[in-house]
């Protein structure tokens, strides 16, 4: 067997491997997108992080999740979002297609800056969880009065 031939870029094996890699490159992000899971933490919702000078905004798409079923904690500069989705099917029906499902989720994210834990706010709007985390401003310069002895 000529092993060198297998390593040349144009042989069928490499083309197949390339094809498979392309397939994964195409499918995985869209699969992640479509089932709402992060590729870095299967079991948790995908998160987006937006920031400006004063605040961080973390967002997750959680359609059908009751706000009361979501738990949010911030500790050691790490945000953790967890909860459950329980869907209810209509009564007296036959399911023809089911792409949606119940799920339990938990996701942690190390925040890029210190935040004011006491001022964190969260809300659920149209199935999107939005968490606002005010940044802790840099320690202000404080003038120390020096008294004469």
């Amino acid at each position: 067997m000529n092993t060198q031939a297998l390593l040349t870029p144009n042989n069928a094996l490499n083309r197949t491997r390339y094809g498979i890699e392309r397939l994964f490159e195409t499918m995985v992000p869209s699969l992640v997108r479509n089932i709402g899971l992060s590729d870095s933490a299967i079991g948790g919702p995908a998160l987006n992080l937006v920031e400006n000078d004063d605040q961080l905004f973390v967002e997750a798409e959680l359609p059908g999740v009751a706000f009361s079923d979501v738990e949010i904690t911030v500790a050691d500069n790490t945000l953790t979002v967890s909860g459950t989705r329980v869907l209810s099917a209509p009564d007296d029906v036959n399911a023809l297609r089911q792409e949606r499902s119940d799920f339990v989720f938990e996701r942690s994210l190390v925040l890029p800056t210190q935040v004011d834990v006491d001022a964190v706010e969260a809300r659920m709007t149209n199935g999107v969880l939005s968490i606002t985390l005010p940044k802790v401003t840099e320690s202000r310069t404080r003038r120390i009065a020096v008294n004469e002895a």
Binding site: S30, N34, E61, P63, E99, N126, G127
Partner: protein, 140 residues
């Protein structure tokens, strides 16, 4: 009689591809279109479609029936632009889109929909003629 065909004409999982395949004009208008996951149920008198479309609104939902094609679009505005800069993005923001072939047994003018908690609920009533009917047997 089946009046709701769930095997979609375009069953792609690639963002924007369903839009692209259907109408290149559509892709040009919005490069980020995502496939909303759906459940389809059949009751005696209707079909029910439930679709996860987080981040849109009742005003952002467009449901159209063109011939035998039911199309559902959930428009999602870019809500990050005013907030600041995106430093981590694990999912894209864009419109949701799904379409199905439906048969002639649906009363298209009576299709109704609600949108709540990010879930679109579409009701498609069946024509009375395709609903199961119990025939009363009279004694002789």
């Amino acid at each position: 009689m089946t009046t709701f065909t769930t095997n979609e004409e375009l069953n792609t999982k690639t963002p924007a591809a369903c839009c692209q395949a259907r109408d290149n004009q559509c892709l040009a208008k919005n490069p980020h279109t995502y496939r909303a996951p759906v459940d389809v149920y059949e009751a005696k008198d209707r079909f029910i479609v439930l679709a996860d479309m987080p981040g849109t609104s009742p005003d952002g939902i467009e449901i159209t029936v063109d011939g035998n094609m039911l199309e559902m679009i959930g428009k999602v505005a870019d809500r990050y632009e005013q907030l600041g800069s995106t430093s981590r993005q694990e999912y894209g923001i864009g419109d949701f889109h799904r379409h199905f072939r439906i048969g002639s047994g649906i009363v298209t003018e009576d299709i109704s929909a609600t949108y709540r908690d990010g879930i679109l609920n579409v009701n498609l009533p069946k024509q009375p003629v395709v609903q199961p009917r119990k025939v009363q047997v009279m004694g002789g």
